[in-house]
Subunit: 282 residues, 4 copies
């Protein structure tokens, strides 16, 4: 009895190293395989929706989908038993996604037509963001995260301002333009305003009256101007961080014991002001 | 008589604290409720314009609109009586908007069909900008306001340049393109130029002749180039402000014990104003 | 005889002051009137092309146009006689535009239908750029001109790169996409590429095959990326100039006669390092 | 025999100087002619695809194409024999392009209809990028290359993030929107997402349901926000490089007469490496 338990514990430990570990060879290999299977599953779900493709390769698709589903199910079970805090994983963000991603195929056994739900599996792609914690990208993504976090406050104020402007402009355009031009309701006008302000410009709705076109031109120029604001905010943060990084790297100052002058030059052996020898232990 | 007046004064004072105050609990609660009611009223006006929705919930909509109108009316009256400068508020920007926002429903009693005017109520959303004075956002929005103010001069010169270019390009395109392509008049051509320069590109009007398309391509590349200008202006201002802010935050100032002057120079050993020796323990 | 000549010289001098001067009251007034007349003439030419408007107000339009034409003619003659270098003005850029702007109406007397040529008058709008030399805008526009000039070299390299990419992408898309999708020729494909790269996106031509759409998606992401380049170039120049401006304003250093340390602080009366009195004559 | 070989060697040397040299007059002239011929050949290939143009000038086009093909063939042969490492050139990137560019015309002799393949010749335009090595542009393009290289890491992380977001958004939009709106499959939805996120906005596919339009509005605002990220990255790099360049240019370095070390510190009176007194006359 104890032997089985001990064997089970060894197995659990191994599973833990493989699934959650990123430093061992097996752990890295598992991560790579998992990424590959996720990408494959998402690719299959995508291709299934392409007309003609599903008709042609229906059986193969179903087969591979079942293989992937079973792989995901085993991985899900292993993730639960190998971690110490079962409940916490199950109800964590990734835990729920992992569960939801396996369900559609099983459901399709009982309720035909629910196989399309496996689209949800695309959410497992979020796991791919974890790759950004890889040492190779850590500094880059950390740098970006910091810059974006620092600009969050200003971005929220900016979006708040844009949204309110959007409602007011949308209401005005609804009054000015007729329903025939596509401005059928205020929400529709607001949709048009966002399409225009962001310079997307589908053209499914566009003003037809001279006054509407005049206002639209103003909105476009406004949009042209305010696109500068988020860019300005983010760029300034990036630039600041770049400068600081530069400074941080160079900043180990050596102070002269004779005249008190300090230097940032790491190679300095003599004080540049009084010629005194420096205690530079860098 | 004096008692009534005194009671009225107490009431006025309370109303003033609730409506104009932002530091008391009641004042903040009132602000929140007001924001909620404004948002609800705007949402209802929006939904009314959606075909089918009004038909379905007509009575409910009219009922809620009357409730909101009465709330706004009471608020308007309280704002007038609780402030000391009645006239100034009534003819202030927000005072006029507050009045206009309450009128449409009353007008609709006498002139059926004017209920649509309650769209004007969207202007009350401008009050939501006051939320930006909340301490949480003050520094953020102040920072942005300063940066945008500082770049105003350059932005005006830029827009002036763009508008004149727009007229000239529009005139040239009107001559080059035929009326069949949608370039029916010079104002229409200018509209097209703005749609293209700002990279919105609806596609309702687009050049059809080879020469017109060639010129359009030039306009697009020009537009691609000049989008850099407002961004450059605003970003430079943001970056400058960021750097200054940084300096302010990192600076450890040393205050002179003799004359009270402070310096940010970390090397300073003597006060630059009175020559007194500094206690600089950096 | 000499009296007439002298009178003519006085008139010439006055005309010169009024037309070319910008410092006298009369000169400024003339400039304002001229700007007003140019704007009016351009506005009229624009409205003439609007269907219905010309039919309604034909006689009034022709009358005002003749008034403007005579005003421009008089101005042109005065400009010639009041300046010392007649020939140089006549064949200068603005001289030619001033001439061309007056001709269409006279031509329309002999060749009916040439009145539409008065569209050329829009070129007189270029004179409006002269307003940027107004002291109020000088520093702003100088600042912008410098920044744009400094980035010219990089912008040229960038546009060269974009144009060649455009030809290559256009050729590839022509092979990939069928003529039915609108990719009727390579120049047309290049036009589409520019429309897409600059994120204008009319939608009059858009890829229909899966491969074409895949390539188009790549082009869009590329376009998204390279929009950063001109912005980056211009912004960096603006930021540099901003910083320098800042530095230039503050930069008057005072050097300590005792220890040689300098300070940029204009208020400094004592050397911060040795406490010596400074000779600060700012 | 030896005479012929020697003559051949002289010829080879001359050819090498002309073709690969950029410092001699003949080399520069050859480069200019080659650029001209490449541009002409690309222009001809482009015009050939324009309907009507080919029909009109068929014979002339074929003639000029043969002239160009023979010129390219001779150039290709000369490039091979004049260089020392024949094989390396033949299998180099440019070597393969040079070969491929000459083949289509010869192939069209045996397989009619393959002349269209001469579109491939557009790839020779890549040679035009070599012009960027011209001293006039070197510093500009080097500067840009450095800035873009430095931002590569961040740009990759950014594109990775955008691509995954694109798949998730595309899947969601496929479920929300009906096939009638153009969202026929997930790949199509992803295509739409990229078209929208990059603010291109063709309008060939656009959401029709209220929920779809609401989500689309969110995607647009997201796209508006994330356009700031690549711009911020690249701009920060440009700005950094600009500042550094600035420093380099303004720096007046003082070289130590004893050990040869130089310093940029204007206050330096002693060499920081050997303690020798400096002759700093700033």
């Amino acid at each position: 009895m104890g032997k089985i338990k001990s064997k089970y514990n060894v197995f659990r430990q191994k599973a833990q190293i493989i699934i959650y570990g990123t430093n061992t060879k097996a752990g890295r290999l598992f991560d790579l395989i998992l990424l590959g299977v996720i990408l494959l599953s998402v690719f299959l779900v995508m291709m299934e929706t392409v007309e003609g493709f599903d008709a042609k390769y229906h059986n193969q698709l179903v087969f591979v989908e079942w293989v992937i589903t079973i792989f995901f199910t085993l991985e899900y079970i292993l993730r639960i038993i190998s971690i110490d805090k079962h409940i916490r994983y199950i109800f964590s963000f990734y835990g729920l996604i992992d569960l939801i991603a396996t369900l559609p195929m099983y459901l399709s056994l009982f309720f035909p037509g629910t196989r399309i739900l496996s689209v949800i599996r695309a959410l497992r792609l979020l796991r791919l963001f974890k790759i950004l914690n890889h040492p190779k990208f850590t500094s880059q993504s950390l740098h970006m995260k910091q810059a974006l976090n620092a600009s969050r406050g200003k971005i929220i104020v900016f979006i708040y301002f844009v949204l309110i402007s959007t409602i007011i402009i949308g209401s005005v355009m609804y009054i000015v333009e007729s329903k025939e031009s596509g401005f059928t309701s205020i929400p529709m006008s607001i949709y048009w305003t966002i399409v225009t302000l962001t310079t997307v410009g589908y053209g499914d709705i566009s003003p037809q009256t001279p006054l509407g076109q005049f206002l639209a031109a103003l909105v476009m120029i406004l949009g042209y101007g305010i696109i500068a604001v988020p860019t300005g905010i983010v760029t300034a943060e990036f630039a600041k961080r770049n400068t600081n990084q530069e400074t941080d790297l160079n900043a180990t100052k050596t102070t002269c014991s004779s005249c008190g002058t300090f230097t940032l030059n790491k190679e300095a052996k003599f004080c540049y002001r009084c010629g005194n020898k420096l205690n530079n232990n860098n």
